[in-house]
């Protein structure tokens, strides 16, 4: 694929805007439409556009980790979010805990967000893995 100059130059925008939107969608998911799956898909969309514009090696460099490692990290994070529940005997695995610190506004923080982050990473890793493997250029 030989992307045009316009596509190559606007690639960073095609990457970062979806990424920011995806993070927003991830965090708002608990109270409004959104969540980990959708956020991950939107982020993957951004990475895919970047891979079309600049190539898969550049896309992988943006991700820092290899896509399948990202999948694994996501599953690990999701599994780990349930572990605090094992520390108290009466709560089974994956019971979520919440804290509400006030720093001006009351922030709802909980292990549910960590779980959703794991889902996000897995979906992002999977779609990127599929796509980068497909467009791999034989060097």
């Amino acid at each position: 694929m030989n992307p045009s100059l316009i596509l190559r130059t606007s690639a960073p925008l095609l990457l970062w805007m979806p990424l920011v939107v995806s993070l927003y969608v991830l965090v708002r998911g608990h109270n409004d439409p959104g969540g980990g799956f959708i956020g991950g898909l939107i982020a993957a969309g951004g990475v895919l556009f970047y891979a079309i514009a600049r190539g898969p090696t550049a896309a992988r460099a943006v991700l820092r980790l290899s896509p399948v490692a990202l999948c694994g990290l996501g599953v690990l994070v999701a599994t780990a979010s349930g572990i605090p529940a094992l520390l108290t005997p009466e709560t089974p695995y994956l019971t979520h805990f919440w804290w509400f610190p006030t720093l001006g506004v009351t922030l709802p923080l909980g292990t549910a967000l960590v779980f959703d982050l794991g889902v996000y990473l897995t979906v992002l890793g999977m779609a990127s893995a599929l796509f980068c493997a497909l467009v791999e250029e034989a060097q």
Binding site: M1, V25, G29, H30, N31, D32, P33, G34, G35, G36, F37, I38, L41, I42, A44, G45, L48, I52, P67, V68, C71, G72, G74, V75, A78, T79, G82, Y93, L94, H96, W98, P108, G110, A112, F115, D116, G118, V119, T122, V123, G125, M126, A127, A129, L130, F131, A133, L134, V135, E136, A138, Q139
Partner: protein, 778 residues
Amino acid sequence: MMLALPILGVGIAAVLASLARPRIASVVGVIAALAALTVYLTQVSSVAEGLIPTAAFGAVPALGIAGGLRLDGLSLVFVLLITGIGALILLFAEGYLADDPKRKRLVAMLLVFMLAMLGAVTADDVIVLFVFWELTSLTSFLLVGYKHEREASRRAALQALLVTGGGGLVLLAGLILLTMAAGTTSLSGIIAAQSAVLADPLASVAMVLIILGCFTKSAQVPFHFWLPNAMAAPTPVSAYLHSATMVKLGVYLLARLNPLYQEEALWQALLSYGGIATALTGVCLAFRETDLKRVLAYTTVTALGTLVMLIGIAPDLSITAAMTFLVVHAFYKAALFMIAGAIDHAAGTRDASQLRGLGQVMPVTALAAGLAAFSMAGLPPFVGFVAKELIYEAKLEMGSAATGLIVAGFLVNAATVAIAVVLSWRLFAGRQLVAPSGAASPPHDPPLSMMVGPVVLACLGLMAGTLPTVLGAVLIDPAVTAVLGRPADVTLKLWHGFNAVLALSAATVTVGIVLYLLWERLVPRLKAVSLLDRFGPSVGYEHWLAATLRLATRTTTTIQHGSLTGYVRTLVLVMAVACLGMLILRGGVAWPEGGASLDARAGLGGLMLIGLGGTVLARTALQAVLAMGLVGFTTALVFLMFGAPDVAFTQFAVETLLVVILTTALMRLPIQGRDGRSRQQKLGDAGVALLCGVAVAAVLAAVLASPFDPRLSVWFGAESLPAAHGRNVVNVILVDFRALDTLGEITVLAIAAFAVVALLRSNRPPAPTAPSPQGPLA
């Protein structure tokens, strides 16, 4: 606790033997077997008085398995034989395989087998028994196939495994029916619940299944063919498994369940006629063989048939005869097998027609063989005589009903006498023939390790014969009590006075000697009867095996044809047929009530039809993918319009990515762009697609037509905010209420990603290497 100790000890010894050097492994094995024997010997006095030790073992209450070990008279006889003969065999194996550096594998396997046998005969639970039963089949497979480089060994091992394993499955079915009828898996509990078991409508089915399972294990007709073929195993294995222990396991289970079934006419008929038929078959086929091991194998078949018959016939004395004969046969058969191994080791051949006069060079072996053969022929004062007398006495007690059995038994015994003389007199007495080739040095008495076994066993046969009362009180009486289910008064005597039984025994020996004199002329004549070779059950087995393999090949090539479109077509078709079938079974298609009014949202249907038309009419795959994307986006709009924003959001994102990825795939992978199907294929595929669409639509309509139960949605809606601090119920369900399901889903996603990456990587052509220094044409 004591009962589990030998089993665990032998197990540990097996592990140690597999790790140690070969010599040490044999020593470990012998020590373990002797230690187990000692433990069991300490229990002899208590069992003789009627106190039955038990132990807990392998209970799984969650599955309803009671578990447990139990050592009554019957089990005691078996464990003493297993450990005692096992120790002698392990000692023999050390000498027989002295130049085999891998023999620690054999020792370890023999120990595992010993463990399995001990577990099987002491198990008081049907499931524990079955597990050990199958373990004996498995270890037997590994032991028979010990010399796995030879094809004959592999085939024999597979045959033994398939026959006994198949029998094991049948046995399992029978045992499960028995458990369901009795309400417990405990063997003693089942026997105690006799009336409940026999009143069950499937009682005779269970009985026949169990009998079939035991028949395969104990090589009864028509399952006898695996035993002579298993002689491909090394001699220590044959001596242990296929004469003294494993094949007796079927007899053990029949004896164990005898208190339950002994009054049933079907049980008596099957066992007595099956047993005597087996005995006759064994003896006729034994007369066609000159290979020592095969002769011994067929006589083992005969002995097993006799044992089964004795358990089946009615008089109580027959059980005494069976138990005595069990011990007798174990002694002399193991001894004779070991002697056959010694002869093979020393003279290089096992062909009885070529060996004569070995007694001059192998005197100790000759003595042991003579003693064992006397016991086999049933001559006084050997314990074989005691057993044979008991057998005749039991049959005579049955009166005129048993005339056929008596005549058949007479012939069997006479033939056994003949073979006993062959194995002793003919082999060892007289002048030595020309020294057979194939031996490293002229034949001589084997080393001590190989001599101990036969001599000890032969002497035991003599001792037990001269002191039968000791044997009777200590071992046979508790065993018969266990098999009959009621106390028996057993006295074994050597001399019963001049009566019909003695006359029968004398006549047997006479006819036997006549048969021996005819042996040399009978064998080639019987061998020439090729009918037996062409139509036996062994041939049937070969045909069945070949047919099964052909069926497997044909099924695999039909189902795994490698065409992706074929797989997809099959999947879609099966799904459609399953949906329609289910609807028909439930009584037809239902249509939801209350039509909705037609509003602007109906336009989405039109948009979808445009997408559908585009997909079907597209000329290239790229056009089809884009049109399908339109259908997907329309679906997302439908979700949005009908109040499911999260699903719509997901569908939009998924559809976008799907179109991008599919398009990239089409451009990168060598998929043909244009549709290459013929008109007929297109019509066929259209039909399948239409059927699937109609089926799914009908199912959806039926789902909508059934009343909606709102309880779950109400609960989730109510609990979402207070318990999970979230207003988006869908997300809260995914992340909190059903988080474990979501964890599973993302694991599946990760696995799919790995699989796709691996497949795409393996398909890529290897990266071109640096150009060779000789230039591109080199």
